[in-house]
Amino acid sequence: MDFNYTEVQTMLRDTLSRYLADTYNFDTRQKAVATGKGWNPAVWQAFAEELGILGAPFSEDHGGLGGGAVENMIVMEEMGRAIVLEPYLSTVVIGGGALKAVGGAVADAHIPGIIAGTTRIALAAYEPQSRWALHDLTTTLKGGVLNGQKAVVEGAAHATHLLVTARSSGGQRDAGGVTLLLIPADLPGITRRDYLTVHGSSASEVYFENVAIGADHVLGAADAGLAIVDQVVDEATAAACAEACGVLRVMHATTLDYAKQRKQFGKAIGDFQVIQHRLVDMFMEVEQSVSITLMATLKLDTAERAAAVSMAKAKVSKGARFVGQNAVQIHGGIGITQELAVGHFFKRATLLENQFGSADHHLARYEALTM
């Protein structure tokens, strides 16, 4: 049992943290949002070329840094601290995770492109009716032809590839009969309706109309894709928890700072015990979110993976709501404007709260798995 970072991990965190502090401040981020593209390609290239962080969880054979889940956690927490728009989660954690899980020639073919920043992947799994049930699929793959609609596909507009789940046999909600595909995003028959999410990233509704699928597009075995998606989404959920931890840390620090400076009734509002105790309760939520995210991350490769991830997401989702709402509350009126960063962190926290499942969804999943 060991809770210390290695030297390489510490270096990864410090390098990324410094880079984001220097180049990715709030104004720069808001300019990227204002372009309406939902990301800044130059930043992505810098992640690949200057920092090399896109290779963090990949083996050295593929040109990566030889890390894994802990490296993803480190990177994602820093992403959260700067509310980064660029698609590390979908490309590296999810796309890369699926390729690592499958291995072999397809991994050799795509992972170097991810590390170089030229391959970008978006997860097309959820559907208009599915909420967070990955097995609830109306998108069909029959005789090599893909038809259906995917909902709120993050980063689809700038993805080179889509990671798609489709029903290839069985009923709409069967666990078996799900096939996982990795397909070029511009195959004939794919159309998108692009939009911005409430925090400024890009997402799309993706439509498949008689898209011809080749055997080489199938990840793993046909009809047996759900296990891979479950695993990858668990890994992504742990990473989203880490991102949330970064967001929460900043919201708490910003609010603490504000409470020390903002004067009312002749003294700093942080002198009032009611504000102090609120800030302490926020602090405790942040620390516990960090702790349980660490637990889930360290259990990703064990039999307890799914239960641990659901515990973590349940806790972090509640923490995100509590810390976010109170950060805005303590800022008062200025907290509900677009002017200060804190409101934008609150928006990010709110999306993370429900990404890959709400607290209730994950408590129910935890209960189903263990009780």
Partner: protein
């Protein structure tokens, strides 16, 4: 970073498990279960087994009797003792005054008191709270006036009243915070005295708490004479010892391993208890309360593990341990709420012990018997050791800089 035990740790766990299995005095749990009063010898029986083995104070420095265990081994130890439902050791000597003495005491004080703490020969109690000073500990008024005795030696004459003194009815010695200077700021005029509880002028009176138990007492001190060499650290610097002790006390206070065991017990009860046509465990509302508790407990456990990792890298238990106290006690209390709720109608009967030859007998399932007294008793946890509100003040000041 990883969660796996090394082969050495696994071997250690097996050794500990076997030792507990072979040597733990299991009659204690039966006694508690039957609601019988625990005698002093009962409390000390497990203590003496551990002292003989050399495992009585794992957390102390090796030079004073510690085991030199790594934080992981100490974690394993607490997991294994909780798993076997071992009774808690009395903390007043082992984790309160002992560390104060080896940290601040003179060589003479160390050799006089520490061996008797380890052996269990001396039973200690804590004289901190007073009727007028609860959370505002530094406002304490028990006075210690210094004088020179007829024998030419220096003494204190102590007058005042302490309260909530746990297990003082068994105590041989007490550690007391007393006021030695009334002219300075509250925290600066306090000294830390060790007082023989058999001294003339000490009166101990029981306080009976909501569950019907006699745990705490009032202690009256009237012209109690205490030699100056029983003062720890400098005169008027007792607050330093007090703060040190409170931080130490708070780390164990999270009670993670015991709470994990408590969750298992409640789940067992809920599976065995009918609730309409299914078991209580299948009731979605009850189940949700348990799953939320498990989530919060996991978050607490990993917060404690992170704190332990910090300790092993040289950072002592800091004000962050207040977080462990707050969340740990909240969870302990929620467990007792669920147990009482699970007991249903059988939470109501007042349970007493039934000795041999007693024609009366207990009603309801065994698991329900002590749920109400334990629920009432555990309200203390968010009040003692610095109330949870005081812990928030500590975090606000020491961690957040407010």
């Amino acid at each position: 970073m990883d969660l796996n035990f090394s082969p050495e740790d696994v071997a250690f766990r097996d050794e500990v498990r076997t030792f507990i299995n072979d040597h733990y005095p299991a009659y204690l749990n039966e006694k508690i279960h039957e609601g019988e009063e625990m005698a002093k010898e009962d409390f000390l029986s497990w203590h003496k087994v551990l002292h003989a083995k050399g495992w009585i104070v794992p957390a102390w420095p090796v030079a004073y009797g510690g085991t030199g265990w790594t934080p992981v081994q100490r974690y394993i130890w607490s997991e294994e003792t909780a798993r076997a439902d071992c009774v808690r050791l009395m903390p007043f000597g082992l984790s309160m005054v002992g560390p104060v003495i080896y940290t601040f005491g003179t060589p003479e004080q160390k050799s006089r008191f520490l061996p008797r703490i380890l052996s269990g020969e001396d039973w200690w109690c804590q004289g901190y709270s007073e009727p007028g000073s609860g959370s505002d500990l530094a406002s304490l008024r028990t006075r210690a006036e210094r004088f020179t005795g007829d024998d030419g030696k220096e003494y204190y004459r102590v007058n005042g009243q302490k309260t909530w003194t746990t297990m003082a009815q068994h105590a041989d010695w007490g550690f007391f915070l007393v006021r030695t200077d009334t002219t300075v700021k509250a925290q600066e005029g306090i000294s830390f005295l060790l007082i023989d509880m058999k001294s003339p002028g000490i009166t101990v009176r029981p306080i009976i708490t909501l569950g019907g138990e006699h745990e705490v007492n009032e202690v009256w001190l009237e012209d109690v004479i205490v030699p100056v060499d029983q003062r720890i650290f400098e005169e008027n610097k007792g607050w330093t010892c007090a703060k040190f002790l409170l931080a130490h006390e708070r780390t164990g206070i999270a009670g993670v391993a015991a709470s994990k065991r408590g969750v298992e017990r409640i789940k067992d009860v809920a599976r065995a208890t009918a609730d309409g046509e299914t078991a209580l465990m299948a009731n979605p509302f009850f189940k949700r309360k348990i799953s939320e508790l498990e989530v919060d407990l996991a978050a607490l456990e990993y917060t404690e593990l992170r704190t332990l990792a910090g300790e092993s890298s040289g950072k002592g238990p800091g004000p962050e341990s207040s977080l462990l106290k707050i969340k740990g006690t909240e969870i302990q209390q929620r467990l007792t709420e669920l147990a009482l709720e699970a007991a249903g109608v059988y939470g109501a009967p007042y349970f007493r012990s039934f000795g041999e030859g007693d024609n009366a007998f207990a009603v309801g399932p065994e698991s329900a018997r002590r749920t109400a007294p334990v629920y009432f008793n555990m309200r203390k946890t968010s009040i003692y050791g610095g109330s949870n509100e005081i812990q928030r003040n500590i975090i606000a000041k020491m961690v957040l800089g407010l």
